[in-house]
Symmetry: D2
Subunit: 356 residues, 4 copies
Amino acid sequence: MPVPDTRARALGFAPGLFAAGPLNAITDVAGVRVGQVTVMEGEATRTGVTAILPHPGNPFAERVPAGLFAMNGYGKMAGVTQLQELGELETPILLTNTLAVGRAVEALVDWTLAQPGNESVRSVNAVAGETNDGRLNDIRARGVTHKHMLQALAAATDGPVAEGSVGAGTGTMAFGWKGGIGTSSRRLPPALGGWLVGALVQANYGGALVMDGLPVGRLLKKYYLAEHAAEQADADGSVMVVVATDAPLSDRNLQRLARRAMGGIARTGAAFSDGSGDYALAFATHPAVRRAAGQGATEDWPNDRMSPLFVAAAEATEEAVLNALCCATTVESRLGGRRVVGRALPLDQVAALRRA
Amino acid sequence: MPVPDTRARALGFAPGLFAAGPLNAITDVAGVRVGQVTVMEGEATRTGVTAILPHPGNPFAERVPAGLFAMNGYGKMAGVTQLQELGELETPILLTNTLAVGRAVEALVDWTLAQPGNESVRSVNAVAGETNDGRLNDIRARGVTHKHMLQALAAATDGPVAEGSVGAGTGTMAFGWKGGIGTSSRRLPPALGGWLVGALVQANYGGALVMDGLPVGRLLKKYYLAEHAAEQADADGSVMVVVATDAPLSDRNLQRLARRAMGGIARTGAAFSDGSGDYALAFATHPAVRRAAGQGATEDWPNDRMSPLFVAAAEATEEAVLNALCCATTVESRLGGRRVVGRALPLDQVAALRRA
Amino acid sequence: MPVPDTRARALGFAPGLFAAGPLNAITDVAGVRVGQVTVMEGEATRTGVTAILPHPGNPFAERVPAGLFAMNGYGKMAGVTQLQELGELETPILLTNTLAVGRAVEALVDWTLAQPGNESVRSVNAVAGETNDGRLNDIRARGVTHKHMLQALAAATDGPVAEGSVGAGTGTMAFGWKGGIGTSSRRLPPALGGWLVGALVQANYGGALVMDGLPVGRLLKKYYLAEHAAEQADADGSVMVVVATDAPLSDRNLQRLARRAMGGIARTGAAFSDGSGDYALAFATHPAVRRAAGQGATEDWPNDRMSPLFVAAAEATEEAVLNALCCATTVESRLGGRRVVGRALPLDQVAALRRA
Amino acid sequence: MPVPDTRARALGFAPGLFAAGPLNAITDVAGVRVGQVTVMEGEATRTGVTAILPHPGNPFAERVPAGLFAMNGYGKMAGVTQLQELGELETPILLTNTLAVGRAVEALVDWTLAQPGNESVRSVNAVAGETNDGRLNDIRARGVTHKHMLQALAAATDGPVAEGSVGAGTGTMAFGWKGGIGTSSRRLPPALGGWLVGALVQANYGGALVMDGLPVGRLLKKYYLAEHAAEQADADGSVMVVVATDAPLSDRNLQRLARRAMGGIARTGAAFSDGSGDYALAFATHPAVRRAAGQGATEDWPNDRMSPLFVAAAEATEEAVLNALCCATTVESRLGGRRVVGRALPLDQVAALRRA
């Protein structure tokens, strides 16, 4: 699937202070790979899977430190307590729909048991996240299967990442428009460490869309709680954010980094509603912080040098959401005998507002 | 499966101050039901499922407040963040083995979608816990299936609860002996509210066994880190505790109650080792704290009356572990071409120590 | 001290969807009172105290449920663990400077012991927050005293709240300009419950100021990490947010409400830097959720009706920050033999940007 | 004050598997110092201060990683959120009574500002804990002063630690008998790392005392909720545990270590009642994990080697409590016109029970 040429930056939205990495994607962090499977079948299955692998090796044998933050924990994320207790990730991350987390866990266990070197592994902490694409997808039909999960893992690659109505973003909605998968990155100046921070989002949440300060939701009269708007947006849904960095961070500082990703989500106008599962998971790929059996980290980026990384994480997350919305294409479905349409953000109108 | 007549109380172990309920089981809490499936197949599958249902109704439509505590979060428990965010349980609880959590989630989703009245449900927070029975069970063979999960749910009943080497305790070990499922309860005196508190444990952890103060592990020379012991016990493994009460508790006070269950575990001599997933989940069945759509609680047991409930939860948990050990029968298996035996606690020796 | 007529709304900044309450202040929540003492002495003492009282009664005897969230816990807030454990507030809240928290606690203890009816009280959980006004205030000189704390408590009143360079905001800076105390409120429409949500902030943090979407920091070239800016802003500092509501919320839902306040802070362009202590504390004044000895709540606003309250909390917090900045007046000081100036936000320039 | 020769080991109580360090005290961890001030004045002031310093240097300039766990957060501990956010301790720890935390914070700030090298420090996160000695001490009279706090800090020394009715334990009660300060340590065998783990407790809590498995409380008929006991023990109160180790631990693993200390407390028969503030704070002194400005750790003890340290922390904590009780001497007071006596544990009766 080609990467759309309608990313937010092309429309003039480049939130924040820092420069983007070469791909402006989570895959700018060396070694990180993304694989996606889009499942559009029949008139009602509009869903999929997005896999993120932290490095090309065996993630179970060579674990990466990781931290998690739930701004609102209305979600079914799997693998949470062990990730928090040990401060590490030992499987790839799968994103999918709400009712498919069980099979995502099952697939990650199968995949991990099958990796060379894991022949005697008997314990696997599978990490899977989700958002609810039931506004466009017949989610009760359980269209995403175990096979799709493994396909997404197998498809993982570096390079550009497909955005919009793909993978785990196939059926998602955001701010009343079609949501989806988006990604972005930031590179810190050398004086601040030179590190890369990348973000990938599965955007399926609501509120009143703000694009780099421009109140698009209000201007287009489509937003949560807009009583007099022509069309009312739903604030529920969720957002999963995955943040990767090549800085040598501890799990504690990764947990802090994850919290900042939610600052980026806030800036897009999120309502953080009751029914929204708003999670950010951050991991670090630096070799000096990886963990093998009986071996701990030998580096640790100090607290008092974290602030630029915090800013970068928020910026990359904010732009990843804008990319998800700008790249998403209209998706139609038929649910309960009724035609439903997830309309793409009207880029021409947005561009006009931007110029106004 | 008949309830063994070798419970701890018969051997003279009745920890704590409060009286037990009529069954001395979690099912003393009115409405709570337990269903178990034991899976012993071939020479190496020694595993199973234990289901706990909070009340006879639809748990999704009529949610119970719930709280969780992880003394050590090395575990794969599913459904954690939503349970914490909303403070409620919306499915039954399934306990099983470490690698079967994915299919437990899948089964709970299926079961929930199929309940009458849930025809339009599109979001299910399945709560499943596990311990690792890989010392007796060929866990990589994935012997527990989706079907077993549904069978355990269907088998749930009130009345006495089978203990020992059954259900999710079929292949577990504890303190170097055969572990398993155990349960116990306490009833508060009327002046303290008269409430019932029940506990059910899946005991698969280690340390140096203490039975109501008697240092059985040390006396029988089988304990974690015993360098000169004839047989060394493994401290890893895990314990899942489920606590039920009919008191009208808030989710916050249930979280506090769950923490106290770990006090009971500590008293049994737990090492709380790095690799042990030690969780307690508490829920309250009182009608005035149940939650339906758009409806909150109308009662709340005050903080300053909680202490007796805390004591009761620790006591019931401690005795539930003793019951698991006392009722567990020897289980043999063949793993990696080698015969392995999980020996039952030698009750005669224990009784002799008790009298000494 | 008169309330300045330069509030954000007068300049055209009214973030969000909901209407403000009559005073557009935390004191719109019936019973909430605010008292402030400004301490400007000599050439270097520029500090103060702001007290918030939840209701006119004895807060120890009649406790209000409360929840706390630390977006970044680099701060000295007192009273945290008991507030979280019991989910309640038993003293007024004092805001002051970083090095004065000890005496704030001391004063709250004295004040509480002295309340009629508290003659046998022997345990007091004093809640005090702070930000570091050391950029304008000789903080090591400890200019705020125990007496000032008691004066602020005694001065507490309903009605309009002084904003800007007053009370605990006397010496604070925000986004490179003079910060201070700000407040705002929102009233939900009757269909959403009709509740009031008020916020009060002590703004002393940095980043790149955004005023209701307008990137004022970038436009005026004063922001954190702006390498080529004429004047560089410091991202550190902190923000304390106090949120009050008259809705009958549980402590858990108040904790969730507090988290949303940080969404409002994010929208102002906060960097959430390493050294920033960014806290929100929310409490509910509704009589049905107050707690006396041996008595719990009898009402509980359900989870699935919380979303509008969440939106309101974020909006009120965002506008409270804008009010702090718009109302703050220039403060001069002399620190280490050097004249330092905290300049007021140039309202004319901001107004011009707003019109552009 | 001489160290009593009535420590638990002399009476035959040596809980656990590991050997004690040479002093069987927290000061076995090289560099750790303890200073205490006992305040017994008039007929009713029975209180004091205990100071723990992590190393002989400037703790602000050379911070130690630290972790905290509140088994029950009904307490006034200061400095919590920053300790958790940064995972470090930047001041000594002061233990005192409940109403003196404010002045403890004030004293720690003063002490820190006055340390050589801290001339430009403007932010201090003072860490102070407490238990409520109001059963023997006229706590409302505020007998502990700022001066006592500084004296305790100045008195800190290595070597043996005074135990029992001294320092912050002067007026505390435990399990219905006189409580106090106690300490103990464990040294791991070389094969497990050879590290030292020391604990110091301020014991002021209740339940049903168990001494290394011996149910002393029940046997002597003095325990919480004993309806027919001659004298009823109060379960409230609190316990502060400070754990020190020379192992190179991360703050996350120190937080885990702190949790295990509560396992030791559970084994002493703690009720963990509603009104008990039960905290453990752990820190590591190893040079490779200390932190100066701009500098992080260069070592990290791996998760999978933590278990023996966990066991050691629980054991040292358990024995520290026994030492507090065994060393405490009877303290009399006069409160509200009534003579009150905190009787020492009857060591002869305990010894007789031990032999029985």
